[in-house]
């Protein structure tokens, strides 16, 4: 049995392309989403195949805002954490004017009218993301001053 599996794995390793392992980086700005590093094709295939994980996904509830600048106006840890970990997803949904992350943020900020909130965010995109270097604290504070 082991030999068979060995064959399978080797063959798979030979025959698969794609790339890389997952590098779990959260940050405070755009582009801190999960990205791949440039290691081998084989790893991804094996990872997907064997349900393994690389790196240390831990058991625990880290805040996800470590090292981020604090918000000035919004005192909501859960919202800070959510925004810090979903910067890209949120920016893209705000630009489109709808999405699950926008709805989630509305719920966290106790905003009742979600469609109106989404529209307000979209209309104020350039104020919320004043620059490409906008950080979580800027985004959340700007949201509180423009869309709520």
């Amino acid at each position: 049995m082991k030999k068979i599996l060995l064959g399978a794995v080797v063959a798979l390793a030979l025959a698969t392309t794609g790339s890389a392992t997952v590098n779990d980086q959260t940050g405070c700005g755009l582009g801190a989403m999960i990205i791949r590093d440039n290691s081998s094709a084989v790893m991804l295939a094996l990872q997907a195949t064997t349900n393994g994980i690389f790196g240390n996904q831990t058991f625990g509830i880290t805040s996800g805002t470590l090292g981020c600048k604090k918000t000035q106006f919004v005192m909501n840890d859960r919202a800070s954490e959510f925004v810090a970990s979903n910067m890209d997803q949120l920016a893209s949904e705000i630009s489109k004017g709808h999405g699950e992350s926008v709805d989630t943020l509305a719920e966290l900020l106790n905003v009742q009218d979600k469609p109106a909130f989404a529209s307000a965010l979209q209309a104020n995109y350039n104020k919320i993301y004043a620059s490409q270097n906008a950080k979580m604290s800027d985004v959340l504070d700007n949201i509180s001053t423009t869309a709520i």
Binding site: A20, M33, T49, T50, I53, R78, Y129
Partner: protein
């Protein structure tokens, strides 16, 4: 009162536990992951006594003892580390005057997770990696928030260090139990980033009818496991299997694990859970890739090309915004698709982070200024639970060169491209240990014994110009003589498709391991028509050039009729050039999956 002085009689409680036969109760065995012979937990930290792994009664006594003789009253106390055991023993034995402990970490987790219900999550296959069709499952613990993004995922996986291991070692160790499996708890959005976005796998969610109370029970037990590790076995004691333990702890009347003997294929756990009627509702989340393919459809040829050019900077953003040939709606869609594609390219490391952020910001900003649009519609594909079960048995009546021939086949896993693709990713195949025997003229013969066969026929599109590949190793009867021979082949090519079906062309170098090696290369074209829900037509034509200057044609045509989820009829014709006369086989097959 000092906590060192146990003012209740531990022995009395132990005796009461014996009188009640608590050590024989199913729930106690579930808490210990005890399977009748021993516990599947390999970590000594999980037990209070050395024999705990094999002796539930002794472990029960030791647990009672530990709860009354705490050496510390904080997070490291026995009561804080084993809240499920504590809760159950308190209830069964009416434990009194237990030392008072403060469980800061555990309380924090319970507060943050706010456990209300449970969802079984299945990330489906990953394109170009058919082996991932085996998939993965994990549990999501839903809170009282409406947004599911705020729930937490409990995941079990082999922990490996990529800096220290190469892929081959990882695979070998993963299969043979060389890694420790550990649990992790992460926000669900992190899991979505990992599977839905980075790995581009569609996500299927199955909401279970567990009550808040049962969910809380489960979380207590998860906490007991948080710090322990066990050997991870890819085929048996894997991610999906361990989720079954958790569900049984939540509701002990569920019997899930006993449906599995030899291997636990993740999708099979979905079938088993459904058989128990505990699935309340189902939900689909399209992967980034699926979303982009849906954008391709909405865009149309011209706009699609423009989107690609925009992402690759062959056209300026301003030109799109000012393009008079595009309507406002089209511009909205072009920019939305561009944002998604840009993200995808970034996740694949095809563009640098600085570049990505700059362009992402520009395009998002431009999109926002175009105002409200129509949300992209994505059609939910057939649920994987509509796909056939893993194990296939076949009975076939055939006529080979005019002679009546009977065939029987057995394939433990899993799917091939001639089967109905309902519930599976189109163009993917994964077969393990596919056996077929034939009977004719009072002779029994081996027809095939495939060890592994994988195919990934990934249909090319504007955004995803991917290639296709396949490999096979095992015995087949496609060689020039009439016997089964061992072959190893890996090939690559391209595939294109539309709603009616797909076609492919591949070049497959191969080697037969006969008394002397016979090498060659095959060129194939094939068509698969799968528009109809119940009929799948498959046509394949191969020409082989052998190094030893032989040539050979192989052709096959099959029609698969899906009677229901687990029964299919297949009519096929095969033509094979042989050294003397060509061999022609007609077959009618009855397939049953379970």
């Amino acid at each position: 009162m000092s906590f060192y002085e146990a003012n209740a009689d531990v022995h009395e409680y132990q005796k009461k536990a014996d009188d009640l036969h608590l050590a024989d109760e199913r729930y106690w065995h579930l808490l210990l992951h005890f399977t009748g012979k021993e516990s599947e937990i390999d970590d000594p930290k999980f037990f209070f006594t050395k024999n705990g792994k094999t002796d539930p009664q002794r472990e029960l006594h030791a647990t009672i003892d530990a709860f009354y003789n705490e050496t510390t009253l904080d997070d490291n106390s026995s009561a804080c580390r084993f809240p499920a055991r504590l809760e159950w023993l308190k209830e069964k034995l009416e434990l009194k005057d237990l030392p008072i402990v403060t469980c800061k970490k555990y309380d924090e987790i319970v507060k943050k997770l706010d456990p209300k219900s449970v969802t079984l999550v299945f990330p489906a296959a990953h394109i170009n990696s058919p082996a991932s069709m085996f998939g993965h499952t994990f549990l999501r613990i839903n809170s009282s928030y409406n947004s599911k993004l705020l729930s937490y995922a409990i995941n079990y996986a082999a922990a490996a260090d990529p800096d220290k291991e190469n892929g081959f070692i990882f695979a070998m160790k993963g299969l043979s139990g060389g890694y420790y499996g550990t649990y992790s708890l992460l926000p669900y959005y992190e899991k979505l980033k990992e599977y839905r976005d980075t790995e581009a796998r569609d996500i299927w969610e199955y909401d279970l009818d567990l009550t808040p109370d049962e969910t809380k029970k489960m979380l207590r037990h998860i906490w007991e496991l948080s710090d322990t590790s066990s050997f991870y076995y890819f085929f048996t004691e894997n991610c999906s299997y361990n989720m079954l333990w958790l569900l049984e702890v939540a509701r002990p009347s569920l019997h899930l694990r006993e449906n599995f003997r030899y291997q636990v294929i993740p999708l099979e756990t979905v079938h088993v859970v459904e058989d128990q009627n505990i699935v309340k509702s189902k939900n689909y989340r399209a992967s980034k890739r699926t979303e982009l393919l849906a954008y391709e459809k909405v865009l149309g040829e011209d706009a699609k090309e423009k989107t690609l050019k925009l992402v690759h900077e062959k056209i300026a953003l301003q030109d799109i915004v000012e393009d008079t040939s595009l309507s406002l709606e089209q511009k909205q869609v072009v920019l939305e698709a561009a944002i998604d594609l840009l993200e995808y390219e970034f996740m694949k490391s095809r563009i640098k982070k600085e570049e990505y952020i700059k362009r992402f910001h520009e395009i998002s900003s431009a999109r926002a200024s175009l105002g409200k649009g129509t949300p992209l519609e994505i059609v939910t594909p057939p649920n994987p639970d509509n796909g056939n079960r893993a194990l296939r048995t076949s009975v076939e009546q055939g006529w080979r060169d005019g002679k009546s021939t009977q065939f029987i086949g057995l394939r433990p896993a899993y799917h091939d491209i001639r089967d109905s693709s309902i519930g599976f990713m189109r163009g993917t195949q994964i077969e393990f240990l596919d056996f077929e025997m034939s009977y004719s003229d009072h002779k029994i013969q081996l027809e095939k014994a495939t060890l592994v066969s994988l195919e990934s026929l990934s249909q090319r599109s504007t955004f995803f110009p991917e290639f296709s590949w396949r490999m096979k190793t095992g015995f087949d009867k496609n060689f020039m003589d009439n016997d089964a021979h061992y072959i190893f082949t890996v090939g690559a090519g391209y595939s294109w498709g539309n709603e009616y079906g797909y076609l492919y062309t591949l070049a497959d170098p191969f080697t037969y391991f006969n008394t002397n090696l016979q090498t060659g290369v095959g060129g194939s074209v094939g068509v698969v028509l799968d528009k109809s829900e119940n009929f799948t037509t498959n046509l394949a034509l191969t020409h082989r050039w052998y190094y030893a200057q032989k040539n050979q044609w192989l052709a096959s045509l099959s029609e698969n009729y899906r009677v229901n989820k687990n029964i299919s009829l297949q009519f096929s014709y095969e033509y094979k050039d042989k050294e003397i006369t060509p061999q022609k086989t007609y077959k009618v097959a009855f397939n049953y999956f379970f």
